[in-house]
């Protein structure tokens, strides 16, 4: 039993060491992450009843102005499935969770992210985080790095609860978490 526990701890630390589990804040990473987020929005069918097809998709970035800036740059030249993308850099205290379609949560601490995710529960909002283990706490999409490559995991249970339909292509690429 003692051996098993020790082995599990070793494995946990190894996995933890393998993944770079936090957004570093560099411009390059912000560009890559914004491209990923933009693409994920393309492969997701949002079910928010208040949003008609003709309306803009509203994307709120919480906690990282650089990422918001990069996403806004993309939205100026591209559309998400023929819909314009409106990118806002918002403060957590000012956020209206009901009017947000996609929420990118990049707070300073893990605890903070978990707290924020609770607010979006039941809002039919696609929540995107970049924090280790956060997907288990309600993030639909959570980014991580693996062998210096940006990867993402998908919480299918949460996506189902939020009535989000994710493309099979997206599911094929992402790491699925039930």
């Amino acid at each position: 039993m003692k051996f098993k526990r020790s082995a599990s701890l070793v494995l946990f630390f190894c996995l933890a060491a393998q993944a770079a589990d936090k957004f570093s804040g560099t411009r390059e990473e912000a560009k890559l992450l914004s491209a990923f987020i933009f693409n994920i929005s393309k492969f997701t069918e949002l079910k928010n009843a208040s949003h008609q097809a003709s309306h803009k998709l509203r994307l709120a970035v919480v906690g990282n102005a650089m990422l918001a800036e990069e996403l806004r740059a993309i939205s100026l030249s591209k559309k998400v499935n023929d819909r314009d993308l409106e990118v806002n850099d918002v403060k957590l205290q000012n956020i209206d969770t009901q009017s947000i379609d996609i929420a990118v949560l990049i707070p300073e601490s893990t605890q903070s992210v978990i707290e924020q995710l609770k607010k979006f529960k039941g809002c039919r909002c696609l929540t995107v985080t970049y924090e280790e283990g956060v997907s288990l706490h309600g993030s639909v999409i959570n980014f991580y790095t693996d062998q210096e490559r940006l990867r993402f995991e998908v919480n299918l249970k949460r996506a189902k609860e939020e009535e989000l339909e994710l493309s099979s292509q997206l599911l094929k690429l992402g790491k699925l978490i039930e």
Partner: protein
């Protein structure tokens, strides 16, 4: 009738139909293969395009999320593809993003494989490109399958065509054979009442052959009616020829007899002298007997001598008259008899030798064997000899040198040759050509009938012999050659040669 045909109509029809069938089958087979080739090519293009589309759809997200491993997994689906050899994905910058097999780019370059490039589009935006390398334009294994199927279809069609060809040709040949059998029957029997169309039991004849049969039947009817006409004409002609022949025979017989009587007439003076002399002897002897009675002085020996002389003289006259009667009768109906040639010649000379004497024409009969026998009609042969002697006499009796010579010889082949030569200097060529023709004569008018030689020639030829002029002789010589033995034949009607 000998047939020169080297082949039969059936063979020719089957050959023609077979060639047509083979041409049609080859054309169909070729069309089948070309069609399948085009279809296979189109299918191949379509399959490659469809695969490219599916791959492209599945490669959108790996490209977007830069996941080359997933992209490689997607490309791995072409691993067992029959047409596609490998696949490569390029990003928007043209950089190789993923490939399967991993060395595909190198292989494409080394093997110069044919490649097709397809854009990868997502929501109208190009996100990369897909390059597929293919084995070739067409799957040749598939094409071989088509060829095998084509050969099987061709074989089956060939057997069916051959059977159909045989059946159709049999129908044609059967009908033509029926027509041919009718023609053969007509050829063998000569009965034009056989009919091709009427005799045919097949009421579903081929139109052309039925037409041919009908025309043939019509032709037979025409020939039959013409044959009847010709037969009637022939019968009329036969009657006419028969009548004319009979008339001619009668005329010829009359001519022969006339000729004979003419010859007798020519000899009448000689004959009168021949008879007058014995009569004078008889008269003189009768006067001697009368004188004896008047003087009543009978000398027995003298009386016997006188009566003997009268008797012999009377016999001589009787002999002359008998010969005359014999000569004047128509001997053409007499059978061939074996006679002594000497007897015939002697009897003939009886008629004419006095004539020769009276005109001082020397008649010489060359010695010959007395026992030469010959199968002949003696009366006719005597007529020939007499005719030749008379002609010889007439030819020379007014000339300075006048002689006639009769010669008889028998050769080894048992042919008798009787030649009459006179002191003339031969017969000119022009006359020689016509001398045997009836009614040709060189004698003055009223003296000759022109029938003597032609009738003599006819008589000799009826004895299987010949009457010729010996042109080699310096004088005029007629030669009669007759076989000693004659075939037993019916009496021959003489005719002017």
């Amino acid at each position: 009738m000998k047939q020169h045909a080297n082949t039969s109509l059936k063979t020719e029809i089957e050959k023609g139909q077979f060639l047509i069938t083979v041409c049609v089958l080859l054309t169909c087979g070729l069309g089948f293969l070309v069609n399948n080739y085009i279809n296979a090519k189109n299918n191949a293009d379509h399959v490659v395009e469809s695969t490219a589309y599916v791959l492209g759809q599945n490669l959108v997200s790996p490209l977007m999320f830069l996941d080359s491993k997933v992209a490689e997994n997607v490309l791995r689906s072409v691993e067992n593809h029959t047409l596609i050899n490998g696949a490569m994905v390029y990003d928007l910058k043209g950089k190789l993003f993923a490939s399967f097999p991993s060395d595909e780019l190198q292989r494409v370059k080394e093997l110069s494989l044919k490649t097709y490039e397809y854009p990868i589009i997502s929501n109208g935006e190009r996100v990369g490109s897909l390059t597929l390398s293919v084995h070739g334009e067409v799957n040749y294994f598939e094409m071989m399958g088509y060829v095998v199927v084509g050969i099987i279809v061709f074989g089956v069609a060939f057997v069916v065509a051959k059977t159909v060809t045989r059946l159709t040709s049999n129908k044609i040949i059967t009908e033509i054979s029926m027509l041919l059998s009718v023609i053969r029957k007509i050829t063998q029997t000569g009965d034009f009442k056989n009919k091709a169309l009427e005799g045919s039991k097949n009421k579903n004849q081929i139109e052309e052959i039925a037409g041919l049969s009908a025309e043939f039947d019509w032709m037979l009817s025409v020939i039959e009616s013409r044959n009847q006409s010709i037969e009637e004409i022939n019968q009329g002609l036969e009657h006419a020829v028969e009548n004319k022949t009979r008339e001619l025979r009668e005329t010829q017989a009359g001519l022969v007899q006339s000729s004979k009587m003419s010859a007798l007439g020519e000899m009448a003076a000689g004959l009168a002298h021949e008879i007058n002399n014995p009569l004078a002897i008889i008269s003189g002897k009768s006067q001697q007997i009368k004188n004896m009675i008047e003087r009543n002085k009978f000398d027995k020996d003298q009386l016997v001598k006188i009566s003997t002389s009268i008797q012999s003289t009377t016999e001589r006259i009787a002999k002359i008259i008998k010969g005359l009667r014999s000569f004047s009768r128509d001997g053409s109906q007499d059978p061939m008899e074996i006679c002594k040639l000497k007897t015939i010649i002697d009897e003939t000379l009886e008629f004419c030798q006095n004539r020769f004497k009276s005109h001082e024409v020397a008649l010489e009969v060359a010695p010959f064997k007395d026992d030469i026998e010959i199968s002949c009609r003696s009366t006719q042969l005597g007529q020939v000899i007499l005719n030749l002697l008379n002609n010889a006499h007439d030819a020379v009796y007014e000339t300075q040198e006048k002689w006639v010579k009769l010669e008889v010889s028998v050769d080894d082949a048992d042919w008798v040759t009787i030649s009459v030569t006179d002191s003339g200097k031969g017969i000119p060529e022009k006359i020689r050509q016509k001398i045997m023709q009836p009614f040709f004569t060189t004698k003055e008018q009223g003296k000759g009938t022109g029938l003597g030689l032609s009738i003599s020639k006819g008589i000799v030829e009826s004895h299987s012999g010949s009457l010729t002029i010996d042109t080699a002789c310096q004088n005029t010589r007629f030669v009669v050659r007759i076989p000693r033995a004659q075939a037993q034949t019916a009496p021959v009607q003489l005719k002017a040669a």
